[in-house]
Symmetry: C2
Subunit: 119 residues, 2 copies
């Protein structure tokens, strides 16, 4: 049951909305064309190059790794297992709407972005 569909699209769309930026202003700040950004947010593009995800992660202040994961790229080393302990969290939270899920993901992104500090 792998669902990697439009998650990235809606995430990027709401992140930009939250930042109050237009497609063209994002283009100005990141160098990513507005046409491409539109296709990204409408799920016309499935696997954008990591380079662009990195730029957007920087602008929106969300973790690069999260965008990579939403895009369906492998993020962990071959050996490691992914956090399926999150199933426990899912059980506690219960059913959520798409909007709620969206906001939870973004909030988690915010939390994680305030963690950094590798020397």
């Amino acid at each position: 049951m792998k669902q990697e569909s439009g998650k990235l699209a809606t995430f990027l769309a709401s992140a930009r909305a939250k930042a109050g930026l237009s497609l063209r202003s994002v283009e100005a700040k990141t160098g990513v064309s507005n046409a491409y950004l539109s296709q990204l947010e409408t799920a016309k593009i499935k696997t954008p190059a990591p380079q662009y995800l990195h730029k957007l992660a920087e602008l929106y202040r969300v973790p690069y790794a999260l965008l990579m994961e939403l895009a369906g790229y492998p993020v962990t080393e071959p050996g490691e297992k992914k956090n399926y302990e999150n199933d426990q969290l899912a059980a506690r939270i219960g059913v959520v709407t798409d909007d709620e899920e969206e906001q939870l993901v973004e909030y988690l992104a915010f939390i994680r972005s305030r963690k950094g500090g590798r020397s």
Copy 2:
């Protein structure tokens, strides 16, 4: 002074040589076509999809993140800086041949692969 050219190619080639595998046996084990592997190792392909790097990292027992970096993908979060303290290491090591550099990188990969253990 960014040089990301044939590093990945030579790294993958020597990793396969060290494993004593043919292109077709790697294809059998990873699902990556031998033609594509050949193009990878002869630098005909610049930016292979991370999915393939992940499979090869698993087979060759080298860090996925290292292959990503050799391919020129961003690997760190937008905030963090890359280890330019390695300039100190470079100063200590001095001039090295391509073969030496290759072996050093692979040895470092080996060291790193024995580190893992995220819960």
